[in-house]
């Protein structure tokens, strides 16, 4: 497993390992595959034995139907039809793709597309599989399924897998080795538990956020990280619970601690109300939202969660007034405005530089050129976008694109900010930066509503959480109330410590409330 912040060179490294995609530029050093220089391999071997799956499920697809897409890679290598047929049968059995075989690719979900992309590469029977953040565009359920498929390949077929990934909770426990890159340098290369200990011992503190919750919890509660045996460090929830059980055997101190939530301010003014909203896309279509009621109060940070296709994006579009509900009403407090940040920031850009985008947005917002200039100045400082001001929006990193789009929305001076999956595809550092930014905006009096899959993010930063299911809001409350009543749909930390601290959601919660005597002995 390959980890590190965006721009640390993970993709560049992976592309060097795939000969056909080696980036242009000056390079030195050697790359060998099975002792042979990579550049000397025959074309068919290089293409077939080293396979690569990319981040964006849609962009990798070439053909229009599933069978054709699967066969595409085999056709490229000129395999005879009989061989192709057998391999296709095999792989469809392995991934359960047979019912999808004749479907057009655009009918598939993101997860199905990514599995198909994986299968198409596997049909060449690669020895090495390179994956560049393959699950970053998928929802948690699809991501888990994808990772499980990888695990089976690795364990049952002994395929070497090199994966760069931000979803550590699932991938790190499966890895044999963890490599950490930063600024193009290799900072760590160790087995997961050893890697975890290194991050605890101070040599690699910045890597702490790349560990699963169990290890982080262990390291922040354990007295001296240097002295712990690596095999004791838990990586999964199960191991974490086992460790805590052992630790707590005999003591019974935990039950007393209660969390105090100081984020609640019940007397705030109501800004936005959805009153029994019903929405469907087509006249005969399914009701995506059904009699949904929800309120957003001044100064809140509301996180709406829900599964795939539950209608989260639709809810935001309806709340923003982009789409009109068939029944029910959206009530916005007088003189208040909303701003929407869609999932894909690329939808916002239509000019050639970031500066132009912001200026045009400023003039659309009705600001005078001087006012716009000073507003933009202020936003650039907050978003750290000054260096990229003259770049093309499409040349920025995903995080910067998102920040540019957000800055554009903020020029409209919205009172309410609606964000659609803002943490999708962000690395942990970028997530922290986003959270800080949102808290800062909240400090300026902007109320925030996000829809997200990201349980950890919501638990850490939201002031209220709600669950969207079957077209309506089925549960809502403060993060502590909301998550502690859930069994599956809660943070990893909560799943570890819930027997002792049912309301603790984050490591900070645990540290704050954990009876000091329990571990400082």
């Amino acid at each position: 497993m390959l980890c590190g912040p965006s721009g640390s060179g993970k993709t560049t490294l992976l592309r060097h390992l795939k000969r056909e995609l080696t980036p242009v530029g000056s390079s030195s050093g050697t790359l060998t595959y099975k002792g042979q220089p990579l550049s000397g391999l025959p074309a068919a071997v290089a293409a077939g034995e080293i396979g690569m799956v990319f981040q964006n499920p849609d962009a990798q697809i070439v053909m229009d139907t599933v069978w054709h897409e699967l066969a595409f890679s085999m056709e490229n290598l000129g395999l005879p039809p009989a061989v192709m047929r057998t391999r296709l049968a095999e792989i469809c059995g392995l991934f359960g793709l047979e019912p999808l075989l004749y479907r057009p690719v655009h009918e598939l979900s993101g997860g199905q597309k990514q599995l198909m992309n994986l299968a198409s590469v596997l049909l060449l029977q690669p020895k090495v599989l390179l994956l560049d953040e393959p699950t970053s565009q998928l929802d948690p359920v699809a991501a888990r399924e994808f990772i499980m498929a990888l695990q089976r390949l690795n364990e049952e077929m002994a395929v070497t897998v090199i994966i760069s990934e931000h979803r550590l909770e699932e991938v790190l426990p499966l890895a044999d080795r963890v490599l950490m890159l930063e600024d193009g340098k290799l900072l760590a290369d160790a087995a997961p538990r050893l890697f975890a200990r290194q991050t605890g011992s101070g040599a690699l503190t910045s890597a702490g956020r790349y560990l699963p919750a169990a290890s982080r919890l262990y390291l922040s509660l354990a007295p001296e990280a240097d002295s712990v045996a690596p095999e004791n460090i838990p990586l999964t929830v199960r191991e974490g619970r086992r460790w805590l059980h052992a630790l707590m055997a005999g003591t019974d101190a935990a039950a007393g601690a209660e969390l105090v939530n100081n984020l609640n301010s019940p007397a705030a003014e109501t800004l936005l109300t959805c009153r029994e909203v019903t929405f469907r896309y087509e006249k005969e279509g399914r009701e995506v939202l059904r009699k949904l009621s929800l309120t957003l109060k001044q100064g809140e940070f509301l996180a709406v969660m829900g599964g795939n296709g539950a209608g989260k994006s639709t809810l935001l579009h309806v709340m923003n007034g982009l789409m009109k509900p068939q029944r029910g009403r959206i009530e916005l407090a007088k003189g208040k405005t909303t701003g929407l940040l869609a999932q894909n920031p690329l939808l916002y850009f239509s000019y050639d530089t970031v500066a132009e985008e912001l200026q045009h947005m400023g003039s659309y917002a009705g600001l005078t050129p001087e006012a716009a200039a000073s507003e933009i100045e202020a936003l650039l400082a907050v978003f750290q976008l000054r260096e990229v001001l003259q770049s093309h929006p499409h040349d920025l990193s995903g995080g910067q694109q998102q920040q540019t789009a957000l800055a554009m929305m903020l020029l409209m001076k919205p009172d309410i900010l609606l964000l659609d999956e803002p943490t999708k595809g962000l690395d942990p550092a970028a997530k922290d930066r986003l959270a800080a930014l949102l808290q800062q905006l909240r400090g300026q009096g902007i109320s925030i509503l996000i829809v997200t899959h990201d349980v950890e993010f919501a638990a850490k930063h939201a002031s209220r959480c709600a669950l969207l299911f079957d077209g309506g809001i089925t549960a809502e409350g403060t993060p502590a109330e909301f998550f502690s009543s859930n069994y599956f749909y809660t943070t990893a930390v909560n799943r570890i410590v819930r027997d002792w601290l049912p309301q603790a959601l984050t490591i900070e919660d645990v540290i704050r409330t954990w009876p000091a005597s329990a571990y400082r002995c």
Binding site: G51, D58, I61, M63, M74, Y102, L347
Partner: protein
């Protein structure tokens, strides 16, 4: 649902439709054209495409009727003058010739409806890929992009409204300008992604060796048999045509067509060619119906026979 003629090997369909089009354009005889129309109509109706046919009927009739009218108005050749209109002679020959052209045009339109239904895009591409693999790949990619881009364009339209770009409101000029801006956003985004698609193709070995073709079609005995029948009957018809049979002479002077044994043989083999698909379709329909009555009196029906085992499940 594909069954009957539609589930046969694409080469059979290609042979049939290519031959049919050739005969339409070559054999200038009302009986032959009428037979062709009848054969195609029977096939379409048996395939349950009557509604599709009805929908395009007004356009077809309009085009065909205008041809039938224009010819006598602009062509004054022929010996039998019917009457004068605006000092121009309207001849029997010109009227008949116009009607012939009308029938031919109608045949071509119906041919296209039937062709579109039977030779679906992927079948066409399968045939096409053998002759021009790169062009076929390019076309297939473009075909895949169209629904994707439409979906993207909808998203872009929705979100760009937030920044005042809206093709639905304002003056005509603003709306068209905004519409073009939306297309530009789509263009930029899609071109960026195209580079990733290109990388994914290279990564999977595109261009490393000569490509082979995976096919989901298999020619069975019936396919081969039908192919043979079509070829033989088609060649026989064509041979007679080259000999000069099956031509209706209208100009310079309308002559009643003589129908000797040569014409009879030619027409017979032509009928065989035209009616094979409709026959196959009808046979299968009949098999289904009879099997429903006799073989499976219970409520669960199962597919029987090789013909109804479709290669495609959709």
């Amino acid at each position: 649902m594909s069954s009957g003629f539609r589930s046969m090997h694409p080469v059979v369909a290609l042979l049939y439709y290519a031959g049919l089009l050739l005969f339409t354009l070559l054999v200038f005889h009302p009986l032959f054209l009428a037979t062709e129309i009848a054969g195609l109509l029977a096939l379409l109706l048996l395939q349950g495409q009557g509604r599709q046919l009805l929908r395009s009927l007004p356009f077809m009739l309009l085009m065909a009727a205008s041809v039938a009218l224009l010819n006598p108005l602009f062509s004054h050749r022929g010996a039998h003058i019917l009457f004068y209109w605006l000092d121009q002679p309207i001849t029997l020959e010109a009227v008949l010739y116009g009607l012939m052209m009308m029938t031919m045009l109608l045949t071509i339109f119906i041919w296209f409806i039937s062709y579109n239904y039977t030779v679906t895009t992927d079948k066409f591409m399968y045939l096409f890929a053998a002759a021009a693999p790169r062009t076929a790949l390019l076309t297939l990619m473009a075909i895949r992009f169209v629904p994707l881009f439409q979906r993207r364009l909808r998203q872009i339209t929705l979100i760009q409204r937030l920044r005042g770009i809206d093709a639905g409101t304002g003056s005509l000029k603003k709306r068209m300008t905004d519409g073009m801006t939306l297309l530009k956003v789509l263009l930029t985004w899609s071109l960026e992604e195209a580079l990733q698609t290109g990388d994914s193709m290279t990564a999977r070995g595109y261009g490393s060796t000569k490509r082979s073709t995976y096919t989901i079609y298999k020619a069975d005995l019936q396919d081969k048999l039908v192919m043979l029948l079509l070829t033989v009957s088609g060649v026989v018809t064509l041979l007679f045509w080259v000999q000069g049979y099956g031509k209706l002479e209208i100009y310079p002077r309308m002559r009643p067509a003589d129908f000797g044994w040569q014409e009879a043989v030619m027409y017979g083999s032509f009928c065989l060619f035209v009616l094979i698909p409709a026959g196959l379709e009808g046979k299968e329909k009949w098999l289904w119906r009879s099997s429903k009555h006799s073989n499976y009196p219970s409520d669960t029906l199962k597919k029987t026979g090789t013909r109804s085992m479709s290669y495609r499940s959709s």
